[in-house]
């Protein structure tokens, strides 16, 4: 019984890890640039389709396709940031919402046009399929891979933010754009790089998620709710917050469905509403 519970929880953690990977970019964008970007899922979708295309058309192995997905999504993000997003940093949140919804529609329509409305198949490498016995428990190989990868990336991100100059610049800009600019920090460049990084991570998450979440042109809207959930509950611009929120949501969603399957679907939404009532600025959000 306990073994089953742990197995289920691990699934929840893996699921939360994937959510975190995709959502962290959105969290930083929101906190840093104060931009509500509902099109974030589209960057994940770009990563997903890139992965699928590389594997299906060019025979690139899965593990090699993932970094490419990251790069492609990052580049797309960088370009869009420079050309479009930058104009709306000072705009109202409503404008940003509408703009990003518009972008999302365009992305969905383009994906439908190019790849059709159906689900994209993906062939994972042999060694990532099936269960793996860990300490007497049956855990999914792919899930272990996901969790391990996200742990590594999270360490990398924390290192980046806490220990590098760039990270310091990001933190400064989050705290106050004006003061940072006054200190000579090129805030524009920080924005661009951060946006690109966030989009790239989303793309990587999208590639990883093709197997777990399924990839079709409606991906951005299907999962948008979950990404927003993570950011809203975790508090913007907080890696810790996003991680905590993603894990909590992943675990509760999974545990809810295991123990009370009848109301499983509600748990996550009710939990979100409750958490937001208790913590209007998110779990680790800045007040004010």
């Amino acid at each position: 019984m306990i073994a089953n519970l742990i197995g289920v929880l691990f699934d929840g953690i893996a699921y939360g890890a994937l959510l975190f990977l995709i959502s962290i970019g959105l969290s930083v964008t929101m906190g840093l640039m104060n931009f509500v970007n509902l099109a974030h899922g589209a960057f994940a979708m770009v990563g997903g389709y890139t992965t699928v295309m590389l594997m299906a058309r060019l025979g690139v192995p899965f593990l090699a396709a993932l970094p490419v997905a990251f790069v492609v999504a990052a580049v797309v993000g960088a370009v869009l940031e420079r050309v479009l997003y930058r104009r709306l940093y000072k705009a109202s949140h409503l404008d940003q919402v509408l703009f990003s919804i518009g972008l999302t529609f365009m992305a969905i329509a383009a994906a439908t046009y190019v790849w059709g409305p159906g689900l994209q198949p993906i062939e994972l490498p042999r060694f990532l399929i099936g269960p793996v016995k860990v300490l007497g428990l049956d855990l999914g190989a792919y899930r272990i891979f996901l969790v391990a990868l996200v742990i590594v990336i999270t360490f990398g991100l924390v290192l980046l933010v806490e220990r590098t100059r760039f990270g310091a610049q990001v933190r400064a800009s989050v705290d106050s754009q004006q003061a940072s600019a006054g200190l000579g920090i090129d805030v524009n460049r920080v924005f661009s790089l951060t946006f690109a990084l966030g989009s790239g991570l989303a793309g990587l998450g999208g590639g990883l998620g093709v197997d777990v979440l399924g990839l079709d042109p409606t991906f951005p809207v299907k999962y948008m709710v979950y990404f927003l959930l993570v950011v809203a509950v975790g508090g913007a611009a907080s890696i810790k917050g996003a991680l905590a929120a993603a894990l909590i949501l992943g675990i509760f969603d999974v545990a809810g469905k295991y123990f009370v399957p009848d109301v499983g679907a509600f748990v996550i939404y009710v939990l979100m509403v409750v958490l937001l009532i208790l913590f209007p600025a998110g779990l680790y959000g800045r007040r004010g």
């Binding site: 000072k90 509408l98 919804i101 529609f105 600019a181 524009n188 927003l228 809203a232």
Partner: protein
Amino acid sequence: MTAGSAPPVVAPPRATVAVHRLPQDRWRAPEIVFWSIPVAVFFALPGYLVLGSQILIVGLFAVSLDLILGYAGIVSLGHAAYFGVGAYTAGLLALHGWGEPLSGLVIAGVTAAAVGWVAGFLVLRGEDLTRLMVTLGIALVLYEAANKASSITGGVDGLSGMTMWKILGMFKFDIAGRVAYLYSLVVLFLLFLVLRRLVNSPFGLSLRGVREKRKRMPALGASVREREIAIFTVSAGVAGVAGALLAQTTQFVALDVLAFSRSAELLIILVLGGTGRLYGGLVGAAVYMVAQDILAGINPVYWQFWIGALLVVIVLFARGGILGGLEGIYARVRRSGA
């Protein structure tokens, strides 16, 4: 936009909402012309009345969103929740024997307003993103609840088999949609009159104060919270009436009345027409639904792409939507003429 190490320089924000002259309640010529159009449509385009009633209903729904979005500045991604509550209330009443349209409409509106009032306490905390999520969350919870309670709501298959009684004992709903059209038009017009009075009243003015400069309102002795809850309740009630109209005129309630796509589409329609002008919702609904009817028939995938592109363009260059654009033209004409 500057490159290099200069701080981000962005043009001062042009408001998405109109800058109003002091409100007055007299009917201006364009308004009278505007209302004569649906009447003319009734006589001139008898084959399009079913589409017409749906435009009127969506228009009313959009106006309800304008109340909170355009006038009070509350961003909502889940307004379909109240639309759906109204639709199911009216539908269930009719299904279980009470097919009287007018009272059904009132009961549905009141129920939706009540739900909106309760929701208001949850929604109106925190900043924009939080509100966005909570409105979304409420709509999602209601959607799941309606899906689960399929023995009551019909779930995904929808609620059907209701018969509506004659309106005022005289007018029966016909297949060509003539009665439905007039019914929707009258309800829309009457509600619009009330709301028009409301937004041009001192209360309406104070709402604009809330939207523009929230922090200063208490200095004027005005309670922000009370006002927001009040307008949220009214807005939910109007949305509920729109939902009830849909249920009564189509004699069917589908689960999608609560779907996120409805809320998102509504937002697009309102912005297309122009927020904060009350008429924006009606203009947006008419333009959007007619365009959709024509263009989606040609190629549905293109429709979605171009609507997305239009949205991007509006936000970047044409904030204020159609009405904003018209006002701009009008202002320029006046200036050059005078």
